[in-house]
C-alpha cells in the first residue's frame, strides 16, 4: 500500500503499542532462548580450541556480543530519545527509558566477562586498554542517563532532559573513544589488547553472531516488557487502562 496511506503514528499511541507488544514479547523471548542455546552450543562445544589461549578464549562468545549490544543499544536510546524530544512523542521517550537498563546490563556483562577473560590470559582482573576503558565510560554514560531521569519528578521534563543528555553523550562517544585510544598509546609500551580476538575460525564467527542475535532478541523482549510497564504507570488515568483493570 502507498506510503501515504500507512498510518505511521498508529503504533505511537500507547494503547496500540501496549497490545501489540504484549503479543510480541513471548515470541522474542523464545527466539532469544533458542538462539542462545544454538550460540552457546557452537561456542562451547563445536568451535575448536584456540592455539594460544586454549579454552579460556570461549568467553569471547559472551563478551563480544555483549559489547556490540551495549554500543548498539546506546545508539538506540539516543535515537528514540531524540524522536521523543523533537516530535513530543511520549512513547518514543518511554522506549528510550526502557532500553537503557538493558544497555547498561550489556555493558556490565562486557566488562565482567572482560575481567574473567583477563585473569587466566593476562594474569590481571583489569587492564586499562582502550576498548575496556571506553566500555567503562559507556557504562557511566548509561548510569548518568538513568540517574538524571530518576532525579526529575515530572516525567515529561525527565524524558526531555535525559534526551538532551543522551544526544550529547552519543556525539561525545567517538570523541571519548578517540581520546582514550590516544591516551592508551601514549602511556603503554607494550600494547596489551584485551579484546584482540584470536584469528577467527568460521565457527567462532558463527557462534558470536548467534549469541549477538540472542542478546538482540533478549534486549527487544525486555525493553518491550519494561515499556509496557512504563505505559501502565504513566497512562494511569487513561480510560482504556481503567477498563483493562476491570
Amino acid at each position: 500500500m502507498p506510503l501515504s496511506n500507512i498510518n505511521w503514528f498508529k503504533y505511537a499511541a500507547p494503547q496500540t503499542f501496549y497490545d501489540l507488544a504484549g503479543k510480541l514479547i513471548p515470541w522474542f523471548a523464545v527466539g532469544a532462548l533458542l538462539l542462545g542455546i544454538a550460540g552457546l552450543s557452537v561456542g562451547l562445544l563445536i568451535a575448536p580450541s584456540d592455539a594460544q589461549q586454549g579454552d579460556a578464549y570461549r568467553i569471547i562468545f559472551v563478551h563480544v556480543p555483549a559489547a556490540w549490544m551495549s554500543m548498539l543499544l546506546y545508539l538506540l536510546v539516543a535515537f528514540w530519545a531524540a524522536i521523543g524530544l523533537i516530535f513530543n512523542a511520549r512513547l518514543a521517550s518511554m522506549l528510550a527509558l526502557a532500553l537503557a537498563p538493558t544497555g547498561a546490563l550489556m555493558t556490565f556483562i562486557a566488562l565482567f566477562t572482560g575481567a574473567l577473560w583477563g585473569k587466566p590470559t593476562w594474569g590481571a582482573w583489569w587492564v586499562w586498554d582502550a576498548r575496556l576503558t571506553s566500555e567503562l565510560i559507556l557504562l557511566f554514560l548509561y548510569i548518568g542517563f538513568l540517574s538524571l531521569h530518576a532525579a526529575i519528578d515530572d516525567p515529561r521534563r525527565a524524558d526531555r532532559s535525559a534526551a538532551v543528555l543522551a544526544l550529547i553523550g552519543v556525539i561525545n562517544v567517538p570523541i571519548i573513544y578517540f581520546s582514550v585510544k590516544w591516551w592508551n598509546t601514549l602511556h603503554q609500551g607494550a600494547t596489551i589488547s584485551m579484546t584482540k580476538a584470536p584469528t577467527m575460525a568460521s565457527q567462532m564467527l558463527l557462534g558470536m553472531l548467534l549469541m549477538a542475535g540472542s542478546f538482540w532478541l533478549y534486549a527487544i523482549a525486555t525493553s518491550l516488557y519494561r515499556c509496557r510497564t512504563l505505559v501502565l504507570e504513566r497512562e494511569e488515568h487513561a480510560a482504556w487502562i481503567m477498563k483493562e483493570a476491570q
Binding site: I143, L148, A151, G169, I176, S179, W182, L186
Partner: protein, 228 residues
C-alpha cells in the same frame, strides 16, 4: 532616557553584572580555590611524599583536583537565578538565549577556571615541577577550564532544581570531560617525557572551539526544558 544596547555590549554588561555579584559573595569563589588546594594536598598524603612519584602524578592530579573544584562551583551558574526568579528574565530576554548563556559561562570561568589556573601554578611548586612544565600546565588549564564552564553549564541546566545537586551534575559531566583531562594533563606529561605538546594543544583547541559553538545552544535548550 533609555538607550538600546548592541548585542555584544549587552552581553558584556551581563558578564559584568554576574562578576559584581560574585564579588559581593567572594566566599563562594574563595571556597572553590581552597577546595582545590585541599584536594591537591590530599594526594601526597594519600600516596606518600616521594618527590619522584609526586613529580610524575602532579599533572594528572592537579588537573583532576581542578576538575572536581570546577564541578562543585557549577551550581551557582543557574541555580541562584532559578531560586530567585531572575532566570525567567534571561529566558524572556531579547538577547538570544544561547548568547545570554554564553555571557554567564564567561563570567563563571572568570570567577572559577581562570583563578584555578593561577592557583595551580602556586600548587605546582609543591610537586617539584620544572618551570617549563608549570608553564605548560598553566596554558593547558587556561585552554581547558573554559570547557569545564561550557560543558558543565549543560549539566547545570539539566540538573536545575533536582535532588542530588552537585553529585548528580558531576556524575553526568565528568565522563564528558574525560577527553579534556586526557589532552590537558597529557600535554604536561608529554613535556615531562620530552615529547611534543603541540598535538595535545591542537586537540584541546579543537574541543574548545566545538564546545564554544555547541554548548551554549545545548544549554539554552536544556534551560527551557528545565524551567517548564
Amino acid at each position: 532616557m533609555t538607550g538600546a544596547l548592541h548585542l555584544f555590549t549587552a552581553m558584556g554588561a551581563l558578564v559584568q553584572r554576574d562578576l559584581s555579584l560574585v564579588l559581593r559573595r567572594k566566599n563562594d569563589s574563595l571556597a572553590t580555590l581552597f577546595f582545590f588546594a585541599v584536594v591537591a594536598s590530599l594526594f601526597p598524603l594519600g600516596v606518600g611524599p616521594e618527590p619522584k612519584l609526586l613529580q610524575l602524578i602532579a599533572p594528572g592530579m592537579l588537573w583532576i583536583a581542578a576538575l572536581l573544584a570546577a564541578m562543585l562551583s557549577l551550581n551557582r551558574l543557574f541555580a541562584d537565578d532559578f531560586q530567585d526568579g531572575t532566570l525567567d528574565l534571561l529566558l524572556l530576554s531579547t538577547i538570544p538565549l544561547p548568547l545570554a548563556v554564553l555571557a554567564k559561562m564567561i563570567a563563571h570561568w572568570l570567577s572559577s577556571g581562570l583563578l584555578l589556573s593561577f592557583a595551580a601554578v602556586v600548587l605546582a611548586l609543591q610537586f617539584n615541577l620544572t618551570g617549563e612544565s608549570v608553564l605548560i600546565l598553566f596554558l593547558s588549564l587556561i585552554l581547558g577550564t573554559p570547557l569545564f564552564s561550557l560543558i558543565g553549564g549543560i549539566g547545570a541546566a539539566l540538573t536545575l532544581g533536582t535532588r542530588g545537586g552537585g553529585v548528580l551534575l558531576s556524575l553526568l559531566i565528568l565522563p564528558l570531560l574525560i577527553p579534556v583531562l586526557i589532552f590537558g594533563a597529557g600535554a604536561v606529561e608529554a613535556h615531562q617525557a620530552g615529547q611534543s605538546v603541540a598535538g595535545h594543544f591542537y586537540l584541546l583547541g579543537a574541543l574548545f572551539v566545538l564546545s564554544l559553538f555547541f554548548a551554549p545552544l545545548a544549554t539554552a535548550v536544556s534551560l527551557r526544558i528545565a524551567v517548564e
